[in-house]
Amino acid sequence: MRHFPRHFPRHVSTTNVMKKIVFATMVATVCAGSARAASEADYLAAAAAAESANKEAGRLRNQWTVTQAALNAAKKAAESGNFDSAVKSAQEAEALAKASIVQATSEMQRWKDLEIR
């Protein structure tokens, strides 16, 4: 009698796993192909998140010029009706703002490493 690992019967499971991967890939491909275009509401939500993060960076006195540039690009794209691009730029702005917050908070201690003593 042949013995197989209890939870991973090789000859059966390999086929099943392959089927699942193929199926998942097909689903992902179909979904990606039919992804809906971003709406104005998507842009407004992304811009609000970016503005909120940038406001926090401002409270820490550490905003970056590139954050505002990305927000401006998002607004411009939204005004021209290109909400895909607007959302992308707003998300970039949010990521930049969050990075500036991380910088400000980590530098509260790290600046001492540079000090001439």
Binding site: G58, R61, N62, T65, L114, I116
Partner: protein
């Protein structure tokens, strides 16, 4: 035995804690000595007083060009304008001389100072605008020509006088100094640069076409005519521009942070002569 070990561990911890506290205790004179020693050791061929000449102190070619330019210095027009502006009475008949000790002549080396009434640092640019406002005049922009001209004239009357920035026995003054130091060493902007990244770690090195000036004595030459700007620039303009270049949103000129930064950076350059107004590429 274990009690003895615990006692030893506690004593060691207390000792380390005390050492750490001593290291963290603000000590401006020790800071200034360490700061100046760093540059003197890094550039053993540069005479101490020559640090006020920024990149010209560390590049022979640039120095020759600068010495030739000094025959007809590009800041001369600003200097003349500043002299006239300084003497011209306000509408109420008073002048800038009425606002400053010694009539405003030969006093640049004492700015910025800590004002115990306000509890904050007062820079020369701020004092000039406060003088204007106290006499019913509109303040000047901190980053434009009028302010640069006025400070150019006041610096010129103080040339050769050594920086003598005081930190009075006031915890608020020490706090302002410490905050200025923190600002100087704090990385900011998308490029993740601090003031020290350029002016402590890399003076004498090129950043694109420019040779970076050492932080030591960097304010002694202010205000400056910059070829890059095709005009004069104040200390405020210099700091704001530095921030922008790192892709950080600059703070408002004469914000507390910038005033504290100027206080720190001037203090650690104590003993160096005023050389402003200066000229830079």
């Amino acid at each position: 035995m274990s009690a003895l070990r615990a006692l030893l561990v506690a004593a060691t911890a207390l000792g380390l804690g005390a050492t750490a506290m001593a290291e963290d205790k603000p000590n401006p004179p020790a800071d200034a000595k360490a700061f100046q020693d760093y540059f003197v050791k890094k550039f053993p061929k540069v005479a101490f007083d020559d640090f006020v000449n920024g990149p010209y102190s560390m590049n022979a070619d640039m120095r020759r060009q600068w010495e030739e330019k000094e025959q007809f210095p590009p800041y001369e027009f600003a200097l003349e304008a500043g002299k006239e502006m300084f003497a011209k009475p306000f509408k109420n008949g008073k002048t800038y001389a009425d606002c400053f000790p010694n009539g405003g002549i030969g006093i640049r080396q004492n700015y910025p100072y800590f004002d115990d009434k306000e509890g904050k640092v007062v820079t020369l640019e701020l004092a000039l605008n406060r003088c204007r406002e106290a006499n019913g005049e509109q303040p000047y922009s901190y980053v434009k020509d009028e302010m640069a001209s006025l400070t150019a004239y006041m610096a010129y009357t103080s040339r050769g006088k050594r920086f003598d920035i005081r930190i009075p026995d006031d915890p608020r003054a020490l706090e302002a100094y410490e905050k200025g130091k923190e600002y100087f060493y704090t990385r900011r902007g998308q490029l993740n640069f601090s003031c020290a990244s350029c002016h402590v770690q890399s003076p004498g090195e090129r950043i694109r076409a420019e040779i970076l000036a050492p932080a030591l004595g960097i304010l002694n030459a202010m205000p400056i005519y910059r070829s890059e700007w095709s005009g004069m620039g104040t200390i405020s303009r210099r700091i704001v521009t530095c921030n922008s270049q790192t892709r950080a949103v600059p703070l408002e000129p004469q914000s507390d942070e910038y005033r504290n930064l100027e206080y720190y950076l001037s203090y650690v350059s104590n003993g160096l002569p005023v050389s402003g107004p200066g000229a830079r590429p």
